[in-house]
């Protein structure tokens, strides 16, 4: 009975399913694709028909359609999974992205433009529907909602001057934007690449889905390149590598005396202040940069849910179940969007190079701005420049780097709480910068 079932399934897979898919795809695309496939001829002898069927089955397997590009990308996916499990580099992101890369690079039969409705770029496939959330920028604001419901702005409220460090670190975005233009990218593509310097994955996806989605047209009528995959992968990869990239730059730009600076403990923040911060933060920032509304609106909304104290259930859902679901979706689909033919291009290599530069510039800007602020601050009220790196919005990784580097200089000097201020300010700053790029280039 079991054998019969297996044989029936195999026969269905080998003969009926490919033919059914072919006819369906042909009807949808209107392209004649019969020439691309070995055909089952009813007039042939049964043995020949069987062989033709096997050939057809072979034509649909990944082994027949695999290219070196697929194999390279599968290796990249495996490396992501390895890094996440072995070194615990952002496992919540790298595992879905790595698995997504594997899923997106399973070789599919696409001869003659055939649409099996399986791949992420094939219309009507499940993955394509899930990818809609990336393409239309649905997922990033939902992630921001969760981040808002998780974030405690107390350290920022108690010491609001740290907001300026979050602004300084956004220099990385604009300098990289110029760098991308110099390397020949079109302005909308350069804007999307520049946002990698914000060290904020959801913002990078949001901006690239608006500016470099492969659909918008430039002034000369040519479409922009689809850079969502490379930009998202570069942003998340460098976010995972924050503990590797930032410390050498921080040590290079500070001296021993500066690393030993002790900051005043943050004062206690009242509940009223905590409630007023997201309300006034939302109004003030969005009035200045309305294009940042989808991100900042959701960020502050999430924080109001948390701080109001009367919507605990909603805040709990936003910071746990909702953000987890969206992280799974965004990670998997961004990973799957790195299909070898889209991802393995000269542009991707340039994007990775620009992304590394953006991170280095953002870190340096934050540290140097903290040192500049110290020139004007009285003794005893100075800022430890080691928290300047936290202006990039990789929350909480960059703040953790500040803490670790601070402890290396002085085992009793804890900088984590101070570093959280510029860290969350960086989230606000990068969203504002994204809004400005959108308003000019979108």
């Amino acid at each position: 009975m079991l054998a019969l079932l297996v044989i029936t399934s195999l026969a269905w897979l080998a003969f009926v399913k490919p033919e059914h898919d072919r006819q369906k795809a042909q009807a949808e695309s209107g392209i004649e694709i019969s020439a691309a496939l070995p055909q089952y001829q009813p007039d042939n002898q049964p043995e020949e028909g069987f062989l033709e069927g096997l050939k057809q089955f072979w034509a649909f397997t990944g082994f027949r359609n695999v290219t070196s590009g697929h194999l390279i990308m599968i290796m990249v996916g495996l490396i992501f999974i390895f890094l996440a499990i072995r070194y615990e580099y952002e496992p919540l992101l790298l595992i879905p992205i790595g698995t997504g890369i594997l899923i997106g690079n399973i070789p599919l039969f696409t001869d003659g433009g055939m649409n099996l409705q399986v791949g992420i770029y094939q219309q009507g496939s499940v993955l394509n529907y899930l990818y809609f959330g990336v393409l239309k920028g649905v997922y990033p604001p939902l992630i921001f909602l969760g981040i808002g419901a998780m974030t405690d702005f107390s350290s920022l409220i108690s010491n609001p001057r740290l907001l300026l460090l979050g602004a300084a670190a956004q220099m990385g975005i604009f300098i990289t934007f110029i760098g991308a233009l110099l390397l020949g990218f079109a302005p909308p593509e350069a804007g999307a690449i520049g946002i990698i310097g914000g060290a904020d994955g959801p913002t990078a996806i949001f901006i690239s889905s608006r500016l470099a989605n492969g659909m918008n047209l430039l002034a000369d009528g040519t479409p922009v390149k689809n850079l969502i995959g490379p930009i998202a992968i570069a942003a998340y990869s460098y976010m995972a590598l924050v503990p590797v990239i930032q410390p050498p730059i921080m040590r290079l730009l500070t001296n021993k005396k500066e690393r030993l600076i002790r900051m005043k403990p943050p004062r206690a923040v009242t509940k009223t202040e905590k409630i007023l911060f997201p309300i006034f933060g939302l109004l003030l920032t969005c009035f200045i940069s309305p294009s940042a509304l989808p991100l900042l609106g959701m960020l502050f909304f999430g924080n109001i849910l948390k701080e109001s104290g009367v919507t605990k259930r909603l805040a709990e859902t936003a910071r746990t179940s909702l953000i987890d679901i969206v992280t799974i979706m965004i990670g998997l689909t961004v990973g799957a969007s790195t299909q070898a033919d889209v991802f393995l291009t000269k542009e991707s290599i340039l994007i990775f190079a620009l992304g590394a530069t953006a991170f280095a510039i953002a870190t340096s800007s934050g540290v140097l701005f903290a040192k500049t602020m110290n020139l004007f601050l009285p003794e005893g009220n100075k800022i430890n420049p080691l928290i300047g790196n936290s202006g990039v919005s990789a929350v909480p990784d960059s703040a953790r780097v500040s803490e670790v580097e601070g402890l290396k200089a002085d085992k009793t000097n804890h900088l984590l709480m101070h570093a959280m201020g510029p860290n969350v300010a960086g989230v606000i700053g990068s969203a504002i910068a994204a809004g400005i790029l959108l308003s000019y280039l979108g």
Binding site: L164, A167, P265, A268, L284, I436
Partner: protein
């Protein structure tokens, strides 16, 4: 050297809009966060202090004293107080009187203490 010159040339040929985006972008990011800073550093503090002072006056406390009490309060102090209270309430059960009392129960008869059952009736 050659590359630097090429980049310098390319920078000159950049669309003026690019420089506008950079200058306006950096300016707006700083301005936005600066406004939030000014609001929370000065305006909100002023409003809250005003509220605190009027509350102190109502309660008959010196407003200056109330303000000082508020400003010196830090998260660390709160944490220390919270820890002290936590330990105090958790260790309450350790404070015993030290008097052990055996309550004598007098019953007319119980088989558990019956002399009859504790002896071999030979």
């Amino acid at each position: 050297m050659m590359q630097t010159l090429l980049l310098a040339g390319a920078a000159e040929s950049l669309d003026p809009l690019a420089w506008t985006i950079v200058v306006v972008g950096v300016g707006i990011v700083f301005l936005s966060l600066l406004i939030v800073y000014i609001f929370f550093r000065y305006i909100l503090t002023f409003i809250l202090n005003f509220k605190l002072k009027s509350f102190a006056r109502k309660k008959g406390i010196d407003p200056a004293e109330a303000l000082t009490a508020k400003t010196i309060q830090s998260g660390e102090v709160n944490a220390a107080i919270a820890m002290a209270l936590y330990r105090y309430f958790n260790e309450l059960h350790d404070v015993e009187s030290g008097v052990i009392t055996i309550k004598r129960v007098s019953r007319h008869y119980s088989p558990w203490s019956s002399k009859l059952y504790n002896m071999n009736n030979l």
